[in-house]
């Protein structure tokens, strides 16, 4: 495969100023039980070659299934034709100069999930599913495990040539309780496919789905009779998945340099952050330190090289509340005068071109102790868990999130459970209200597996690390 890909980029060199070629073999398995029945048992394999060329400043990308020379040559011919058919781009923008990627890499995986028997997976799910359904008010119980592997070979006309393999695995469960008051859901460990990590089957075992099922079911049932979250401007404590999604939507996407420069204006949107804001723009309070780290062990946005051959990095995005950097590609980084790409170009499978994608955008831990200690230090407010709904404007400024459940904080203690919690705000003001982040012992990863961007659409997976954090003066209510 190395030889074929090198041949393709060599063949492109007579026509294109740059070319890269990528072969991807991907395997996916999703297994889910729903109310004791098989809900999903999908096994998918796909293999193909994607070729990207740049002709007079215009990019062309084409993909063909298979691994043969004919498939690669077909993709190359179509990529060239597509690039050449576009109107003149008005000059070719520079790409940053990068050391050519070279070598092989494999992500962490102790137990290959594709070697674990289907019987074992169904047995584990059946235990969790049954435990959820012991709660009489639960009308829908669902438990899922997912496994994914991707083997990639990459070559570019700049001399990059690498192979890398990653395995992702995880799972989760959800209970929906229904009565005359409506429907309430609780999920574990998160609401978006549970928790997926760059790991093997050992990660699923560690999640202990069955052990957590009784609590999840009981909370779903309790939400039916819980009071509605009152509307107020108050203190909000976030943790886990919801804080991860807050980082994802309001920080990660806002700092993707293609958006900042207007390249995504017609779909994903732009950004309220200016391209010249590094070092001067205040993004949040002095407690806000955010890093995009593509080297984080076990995180979904980790790799050794990105999809244009740039080595993975840890990039400071926000330091003590001030903008420190962007998520970039070779082209976008060069456009604002940076010497290096942040290494954020990733593509879904073989049939999509690489685009700027956030890596693992995480909030650095603070010194506020444990979650219990943070609650104890909070006179009054709301503690909210697990994402239920999300929406943010096209500049990543005004957002609204709904959680599955919330609890009152009163005199430093968690009080009543509250249903239908929602909070809303604008990004800099919200992060400006951050006044405490828990300590490193509380820091953990949450996963997002359904991040959509690009045209045609691509889904990406990424992790976000955080410790529970407290935000002052937030608009909270029930939608």
């Amino acid at each position: 495969m190395r030889e074929l890909l090198q041949d393709l980029v060599d063949a492109a060199s007579g026509h294109a100023s740059y070319a890269d070629a990528r072969h991807v073999l991907a395997r996916v398995e999703d297994v889910a039980l729903r109310n004791g029945e098989l809900d999903l048992l999908d096994r998918r394999e796909e293999e193909g070659i994607g070729v990207r060329v740049r002709v007079k400043g215009a990019w062309g990308f084409a993909a063909a299934r298979g691994s043969g020379r004919a498939a690669g040559e077909d993709a190359l011919a179509r990529a060239l034709a597509l690039a050449e058919a576009q109107p003149a781009a008005g000059g070719e923008r520079a790409l940053t100069l990068e050391a050519p990627a070279s070598g092989s890499h494999a992500g962490p995986c102790e137990v290959d999930p594709f070697e674990v028997s289907l019987d074992r997976k169904l047995e584990l799910l059946a235990q969790a599913d049954a435990a959820l359904r012991r709660e009489p008010l639960v009308s829908v119980a669902r438990a899922q495990v997912s496994s994914r592997s991707e083997e990639k070979t990459f070559a570019s006309s700049d001399g990059a040539l690498y192979e890398q393999r990653v395995v992702e695995c995880g799972g989760g469960l959800a209970a929906i309780a229904v009565d005359e008051s409506g429907a309430q859901v609780r999920s574990y460990p998160g609401s978006h496919s549970g928790h997926i990590a760059q790991a093997g089957w050992e990660h699923v075992v560690e999640l202990d789905l069955a052990g957590n099922a009784p609590r999840v079911a009981a909370e779903a049932a309790a939400l039916l009779s819980a009071p509605v979250c009152p509307s107020d401007r108050t203190t909000l404590v976030l943790a886990g998945e919801q804080l991860g999604l807050q980082l994802h939507e309001s920080v990660g996407h806002a700092l993707e340099l293609d958006r900042v420069l207007g390249g995504e204006a017609s779909y994903a949107g732009t950004s309220f952050v200016p391209a010249d804001g590094v070092g001067v723009m205040r993004f949040g309070s002095e407690h806000m330190n955010v890093t995009a780290d593509a080297t984080l062990l076990g995180a979904l946005g980790s790799f050794r090289w990105d999809d244009e051959g740039v080595e993975a990095q840890a990039v400071p995005l926000v330091g003590e509340g001030v903008l420190r950097g962007f998520l970039s590609s070779r082209e976008s980084a060069a456009e604002i005068g940076l010497n290096r790409s942040a290494g954020c170009m990733r593509a879904e499978g073989f049939a999509r071109q690489p685009i700027v994608r956030m890596t693992n955008v995480s909030l650095d831990p603070g010194a506020a102790g444990t979650l219990d200690e943070l609650i104890a230090a909070t006179q009054r407010g709301i503690y909210m868990e697990t994402n239920r709904s999300w929406s943010i404007d096209s500049r990543r400024l005004h957002f609204q999130f709904a959680g599955e459940a919330a609890w009152e904080i009163s005199d430093g203690r968690l009080g009543r459970m509250l249903r239908d919690p929602v909070y809303a705000g604008t990004t800099p003001r919200f992060w400006g209200g951050l006044d405490a982040v828990c300590s490193p012992s509380e820091w953990a990863l949450a996963s997002v597996t359904n991040c959509g961007k690009g045209e045609p659409g691509q889904l990406a997976s990424v992790s976000h690390g955080s410790a529970p954090a407290r935000f002052r003066d937030v608009l909270v209510g029930s939608g």
Binding site: A32, R34, G36, E37, L38, D39, L40, L41, D42, R43, R44, E45, E46, E47, G48, A58, W59, G60, F61, A63, A64, R65, G66, D74, A75, A81, L82, A85, Q86, P87, A89, L118, D119, L122, R142, I176, V178, G182, A183, G262, G263, A265, S266, A351, S389, S391, I392, D393, S394, L397, H398, Q400, V422, A424, G452, G454, E455, P456, L459, G479
Partner: protein, 459 residues
Amino acid sequence: MRAQAPREVAARAREAAGDEHALATVTRERSLALRFARSRPTQSTSVDDLTVEVAVVRDGHVGRAATNDVGPDALRRCADAAVRAAETAAGQAGPGSYPGFPEPAGLRAHHGHDPETARLDPARGGEALLAAFELAAETGTEANGLWTAGEVETAIATPSGPVLVDRVTDAHLKAVAFGPGRRSGYAARTAVSLRDIDARAVAAAAAAKATDASSEPLDLEPGEYTVVMEPHAVHDLLWVLGQAAFNGLAHSEGRGALAGRLHTRVVSATINLSDSPRYASTLPRAFDAEGVPKAPLPLIQDGVAHRVVHDVRSGAAAGASSTGHAQAAGGPAPGPSPNNLVMAGGGAADEGELCAGVERGIYVTRLWYTNVVRPEESLFTAVTRDGTFLIEDGRVTRPIADMRVTDSALDVLSRVQALGARSVLTSDGELYGRRFASGSVCPPLRAAAVRFTGSAASG
């Protein structure tokens, strides 16, 4: 490379399963997508791929496997994996509730395929981009957007032998123009045929919004406002209903927005909504993912909700038949949904006439990041985008900062005061996974007391 005919591949995959309870689906996509931003081309993608999926039923459980390799060994492995999955599930979980794949029924022809579009000539895309760039230069705006066209052929080899085949094309152009002050305007057109998309006209419509918006946008206080929505925004309301109200699985489990409300008035009596897969100007389909023929299905008539949509699984749970709305063979969660919603228009000539009756309100071109908050209430939240204006004394007067709307889709449609006469096909052009272009046909509307809960400018 020699093209593999989906019909033949589907038959071979079904044969590889060697199973009277197997269904094999082959989907071949050929597509082009050209993106542009800041009046220059940015990304372009050409896809030629094919997916084979084999689904097998055992004791009410469905196992599925998929590959994009059409070689005999790969098809055998794929079929074996599906059989093994279904048998393992049946052995572990006891009898399941899936009643089996339906027998093939007669299909109706449609006009959803255009040979000229199917040629996928990259030059046609280049011409569309050039037209958009020229218009932008003439109007002093900046052109951003997407031109895309595709052909998708789907073949389903049914358990009893017949192979169903459907071929469709789609074309989509959207333009987002940025004018003075960085205000943006949006326009889009979707059709079966490229010939029906006038790139210059689409770009001009977007530019007109951006250049009309030359004054500083007003930051409007949250509250309830009378709203005039273009079809693009109405499309999002219908999407919410598709997810929250018409999903037969959620409905049968008592968590849908129409639970306990069928055969009652749920929206304004002016609202008539159906799923009409062969309606003029829609993107037609012959059958759903389980091979059930597509047929017109009235959903709301004169404001009264009549039915929800089903796949085989949700239909069995509800004691009903599939209505041809499966999203995947075997109908897993999240359940069925309508793909060809058509909302009947009313008497207003255009958006201008809809504005005429508004003393002070908001004009919404499109909604963005629409998401369901509480499905049982059809409560959604979204943000306006690319053309939000203040309406004063019956006409659009000035741009306003984008605003967040959080309201119930059914309630908004209950407060409809007037509908435009012209329904148009609207699509967001989002094409994730294997290409499945869809859209809804809807008119512009005016609705009272729509709840805006925040401003993108001030929170």
